[in-house]
Symmetry: C2
């Protein structure tokens, strides 16, 4: 694992490294949504990514950077969602074991995905302490390398490749919106934009019911998330330490969206773009529509982070 | 309106004519679905088409071929669904009025679409007789040109442009599967394949609960649909006369799928491809999965016909 924040060369090397294992996802636009929003939006569709989420990038990068000795003992993590599947898949591609600690209430579709990639699931109580304790035991027993979901340099470096592709194809963006949970995607996005075109403003978008990044950003210190309550189940975690450093330096604002706004934006994307996204993924469009004047006439990149939703539990 | 079946030159001219008004839709594949199906599938994504369905092609072609005098009085049709929105939009683009007779039980999303394009909706009882009588009155009153949903040469010619694009990009297909309701899409597809590569087998796919095309095809005479009962609400109508002629000549078989098979295939497309389709659209994949041996190892084109589904009424 690298010791300092990735350079542009590091991000480009990561992009090269993971390229055989992930999709270069399409960038889509919708005339109808542009008309509603009053600006020009370029959606980077990571819902079409391998494992259905941008997390495939960071996990692949972290696994491919491990030494052969590390690889022989496998990887481990705790995750309620997409990082779990992403790490299990990266391990499968590398031919090594993956031990995934998951809260017992994790969505069925996400457990199924981990098992589908041959990952070994170790269930625990649905709280951070239980997840950390269980993971410690697994690592002690197996010698596996812990690959954290977001607060980890090689993961951030991998997630940065998404904005790299977006900006390569659409260099004249005024602003990029990305959702923020743990901050791996937002941190990586901010770093890539900073290197490639510092005129692009990067804004984090967060559900009002899990607004620790918003609180932390404006207080200037990390304030952990407590009692999150939102439909955006991929954004419940607290902001990571490394990611907060990146966000403080390279992100210009955090915008919020309420659950009804998130559901409305999600529905708009299903109806007008005919694509499947998970609720967390709708947060940036929801935040944009809640504050249209700020984006009027601009060219806006939005990272659609993932499409792993329990179809039986859609909010409409 | 042309008097004989369109030639290849006619279909190419239609493609040119409608090109400014419709999308060239992408062709997508899914490794996961290919593995499940045991063959290589190329999905032509007309769910991403303007108005969310291939119907945009036929309607645009028919409207653009009208004389100025005809145009001045507008167009009229009866349709429970996508043709209604497609004709309303084509009329809007051409700057002429559209009178749309719709059964009172048509899905809300489809009525909304027609209104959104400025079409005038005339509601009637949900049966063919009421639709035809109401339409006759409208045409008599307004002088509008009736553009039928499928049994109409200029509409068939427009629908044929979809397979034209598919075969242009993927010339080595062994077989193309298209859903069949009224038969405009299947007829146009069969005609295009016949001209461009007669080695491509064209198979119609129909819900078991509305199997008049199957019955007609194997009886060698038109047997109208009575009492259709299927979730595939875009395929309830009876096969058209012109389309039956095309299908008898250029289609090699009609395959059936039950509603549970249709729902399963629909779910597979949502989960694995992360795209939104309507139930009718899942019929070809459902038919393929119900008879995998017939397609084993083949290159299969599937036309995904549309994505206009009431999200509040998904069958999962």
């Amino acid at each position: 694992m690298s010791q300092s924040f990735p350079s542009l060369a590091d991000i480009r090397a990561a992009h090269e490294r993971i390229q055989p294992f992930v999709h270069r996802t399409p960038i889509l636009s919708s005339t109808a949504i542009n008309e509603i929003a009053g600006c020009e939006i370029f959606f980077k569709c990571e819902n079409f990514q391998k494992v259905g989420a941008f997390k495939a990038r960071g996990a692949a990068n972290a696994v491919m950077k491990m030494t052969d000795e590390q690889k022989s003992k496998g990887v481990a993590t705790h995750s309620s969602g997409n990082h779990a599947a992403a790490l299990a898949r990266a391990a499968k591609v590398a031919g090594i074991p993956a031990y995934i600690v998951m809260p017992s209430n994790a969505p069925e579709i996400k457990k199924k995905a981990v098992k589908g990639y041959g990952g070994e699931i170790i269930e625990c109580e649905p709280n951070l302490k239980a997840r950390e304790t269980t993971l410690e035991e697994v690592v002690k027993k197996t010698g596996a390398t812990f690959i954290p979901p977001y607060d980890y340099m090689d993961v951030i470096e991998g997630q940065a490749t998404c904005a790299l592709e977006l900006i390569e194809e659409q260099a004249d963006l005024d602003v990029i919106l990305a959702p923020v949970g743990g901050g791996g995607l937002l941190g990586g996005t901010a770093l890539a934009a900073h290197y490639l075109n510092p005129n692009i403003e990067v804004i984090g978008c967060e559900p009002k019911g899990a607004d620790d990044a918003f609180q932390s950003f404006y207080a200037g210190k990390l304030i952990p998330q407590s009692g999150p309550n939102t439909i955006a189940d991929g954004l419940l975690t607290s902001l990571g330490f490394l990611n907060f450093e990146l966000i403080k330096t390279h992100v210009s604002a955090i915008h919020l969206a309420t659950d009804p706004q998130i559901i409305e934006a999600m529905r708009l994307i299903y109806e007008r773009m005919k694509i499947v996204i998970e609720p967390s993924c709708a947060v940036p469009l929801a935040a944009l529509l809640a504050d249209q004047d700020s984006f009027s006439g601009k060219k806006v990149g939005i990272i659609l982070s993932g499409g792993n939703v329990d179809l039986g539990k859609l909010p409409f």
